[in-house]
Amino acid sequence: MQTKDGQITEPYSISAGLDYPGVGPMHAHLYKTGRAEFISITDDEAMHAGLELSQLEGIIPAIETSHSLAIFKDKKFKEEDIIVINLSGRGDKDLQNYIDYFKL
């Protein structure tokens, strides 16, 4: 994320780990070659997905991971599809953010 003359701009995300202006070269390559699909998720979608996993499974995901969990609202899968989710981080570090967001 940058200005037109190449200065880095400060991005925003509710998740500290995603509050970063760069894209790794592997992701950029996967995108360019069409081997992966990248989808935007709002703060609200991510937070609700994180809360849902916590309530259903007792697994508290990091807010970074909650973004990927949120795709099930929009992306439809077939019954025989094999789905792997990488729970890339634990959410105990984010508890205060969850508590504040949902006023728990």
């Binding site: 190449g6 200065q7 701009t9």
Partner: protein, 254 residues
């Protein structure tokens, strides 16, 4: 002949000064450059401010941020420097990071540098092999000398490789740190300076990072062709402004 090469032939130790363009105020650039030349500085590094200056310590980070807030951009800098060669004859080097140059267009950037009379570039985040493979031809087409950095951690092989494609001088970073963070050189630095001197490289070395006064300038230039001062000069500009530049320079060269 490029002004940098001419300057390197002079039989003296060279003092190069760095400042962030657009600092302390947006339109101070030309004034600072002219004052530095009049004060007896041998070479000037004009910093093109960048929002993520990974080689710089707190002082130059802050001056870069202020410069950007003041409205400094690549285009503004080029406009300010348009007529610089009417009044200034010492070598001028632009020091910046690669992304703004890439966004401007590498060839267009080099072309404008040549039109203005810029002699060289220092781009700490442009790796030497990438430069060699992709940009060397363009830089050389526009008569620009690209200056590479070595540190105490740079391998002998890489130093020789850098020496083989350098056309001016090698920027010898005094220690494994960011700009503006040292207060004097110890045995470790002296050993490193001596080790590099003993390599008898084709390109002379100019020491940067950690030079702030007459003492550190003298120490650094004992084993090298010259030294570069950045953060200490930025601090001077912050405290005393442009008018007292000659006093600062004489305190180094006394």
């Amino acid at each position: 002949m490029n002004r940098i090469n001419q300057k390197l032939q002079e039989n003296k130790k060279l003092l190069s000064l760095y400042f962030s363009a657009g600092y302390p105020s947006l339109n101070a650039t030309v004034d600072i450059i002219e004052n530095l030349e009049k004060s007896g500085v041998d070479m000037i590094e004009i910093g093109l401010p960048f929002s993520d200056p990974l080689a710089d310590g707190p002082t130059i980070q802050a001056s870069s941020t202020t410069a950007l807030k003041n409205g400094m951009t690549t285009e503004v800098l080029f406009k300010q420097l348009k007529d610089i060669r009417k009044t200034v004859s010492i070598p001028l080097i632009i020091m910046g990071y690669f992304n703004p140059i890439l966004q401007y267009g590498v060839e267009a950037f080099c072309n404008t540098c040549q039109d203005i009379g810029i002699d060289g570039l220092i781009i700490p985040d442009l790796p030497v092999d990438v430069y060699n493979d992709q940009y060397k031809a363009t830089f050389e087409k526009y008569g620009l000398i690209n200056v590479f950095l070595i540190t105490p951690q740079t391998s002998i092989e890489r130093i020789h490789f850098i020496d083989s494609i350098s056309k001016g001088f090698i920027y010898m970073v005094s220690s494994a740190s960011v700009t503006g963070s040292s207060s004097g050189f110890g045995d470790e630095q002296t050993a490193y300076f001596k080790r590099i001197e003993a390599m008898k490289l084709n390109n002379p070395q100019i020491v940067g990072f950690g030079i702030s006064d007459n003492k550190t300038f003298t120490q650094a230039t004992k084993y090298a062709k010259g030294a570069i001062i950045g953060s200490a000069f930025i601090k001077h500009l912050k405290n005393d402004g442009i008018t007292k530049i000659s006093q600062f320079v004489s305190s180094i060269l006394r």
